[in-house]
Symmetry: C2
Subunit: 266 residues, 2 copies
């Protein structure tokens, strides 16, 4: 055995532990077991040194206890790429030091670790720092899946098409997508809420649209009648699910492989 | 208390219990607790009277025991709307009889109950049958969230756009969506697999695409080099995740409400 192999074997694994959007009941058994393991180190994201961690809050509300080995990792609310890269690097370095001591690290993630999560950045930066670093992702429930369940509004029925976009791309983008998809999920609707409500009225889709804030959390709020939301303050963690029963559908190719599929339009 | 209220109080609740795509570790704590409750009746979907239930298989592989009160519900593999409606009605009637006896029913769902699931049909038909029927949906992990975790390929990074469509809509539809989204999830790629691989080559996106079969199950298969798949037989439960790093992005509106958002293009 070479010294290199010995080092690799001793090195811990970074786990991306998805906790679901807020209801501790939506934590998976795999995530739950991972967080309860002895000697696992918890790392959790915060926006700045003094802020709370929503991911940590979910874990603690589930009844789990914060282990002695734990650290906050700062992921600031900025879109300055250079600044972000610096914070990602610092976070990856902190994690790398713990892994090198042979300890596994659980990075706590709200929602699903692959879906609009900081975990992707952390994992990539760690791998860039050390190609031998081991990473595992534990999948979880997303905010929009939890929202659909709470609303009892299927995200997708058979043959449905779904688009998920941050609402911040703006009204013309939303306007373009509305007729094309059976379900449109708009994330972070806060900055454009009133304008989106007007747009949905224009399309006659307001009655097929729902608003949900902090899905699955104790502060969850569901609004069926969007008009009542106009001018209201809403949380940053709010989304809309818009169904379009008017979408024109083309044929769907099923079953065995077809060698000459006919030309189709969406 | 009126006799009507008494009946309503006695009536059980139908739970849509999401089990995740195949790995029993991806069952949520809420689903797990629901299935372990005493006196809960299990209902699980089968394609015909003699076929196995994939959802039931996930539950049994988790170590849970099938309770005495259990029934298969037939949801045939057909797209004949009239035939389907008949089977949904039969299934809803079976469930309704059990609920009326005051017993709760857990309907076992692979993946997430709101995402391409028969549960939506069952719940709607039950509500049509009896407006007083109580339904709850327990959200779960979807196949594509589990696939992204296994692939360590984020489904969406910050500001990313995602589209999810059944591949059967055909090549022109896929061709149209590829440049528009950061991530395209193609479900049920089996019938068009070779043609899709050729299309991705044409877009230079084959290196950013992954194939995954039966995500999270013991038979899971991941293919990174799509060219090796051509002409191969694949399972019905197979999907592709395609990333498009070339997508041209517009500005994203953030933070506070803007009263005059500028016109934007996708």
């Amino acid at each position: 055995m070479t010294p290199r192999n010995m080092t690799e074997e001793k090195m811990g694994t970074l786990y991306g532990v998805s906790l679901g959007p807020g209801d501790p009941g939506l934590i998976t058994r795999h995530a739950w077991d991972t967080l309860q393991r002895k000697n696992i180190f918890w790392a959790y994201p915060v926006r700045n040194k003094n802020s709370d961690s929503y991911a940590l809050d979910i874990a603690l509300r589930s009844g789990l206890r914060l282990p002695t080995g734990n650290t906050a990792l700062v992921f600031p609310m900025t879109h300055d790429a250079e600044k972000l890269a610096k914070y990602w690097f610092n976070a990856a370095q902190t994690v790398h030091k713990i892994l090198k001591n042979g300890q596994d690290v659980a990075f706590l993630v709200e929602g699903d670790a692959s879906t609009y999560s900081t975990f992707g950045h952390l994992a990539r930066t760690l791998k860039a720092l050390d190609g031998a670093a081991r990473v595992q992702t534990i999948a979880g429930v997303t905010s929009f899946n939890a929202a659909a369940a709470q609303l009892q509004m299927p995200l997708a029925d058979v043959d449905d098409t779904v688009a998920i976009i941050p609402a911040g791309y703006g009204l013309p983008v939303i306007d373009d997508l509305l007729p094309r998809f059976d379900t449109l999920v708009l994330l972070k609707v806060k900055p454009l809420l009133d304008e989106i409500i007007d747009l949905l009225h224009g399309h006659g889709l307001h009655e097929h649209s729902r608003f949900i804030e902090k899905a699955g959390s104790p502060e969850e709020r569901i609004v069926h009648d969007l008009a009542t939301l106009k001018g209201q303050k809403v949380n940053y963690l709010s989304l809309m699910i818009i169904k379009n029963p008017q979408r024109e559908r083309s044929e769907v190719i099923r079953g065995c492989r077809k060698k000459n599929p006919e030309t189709q339009s969406p």
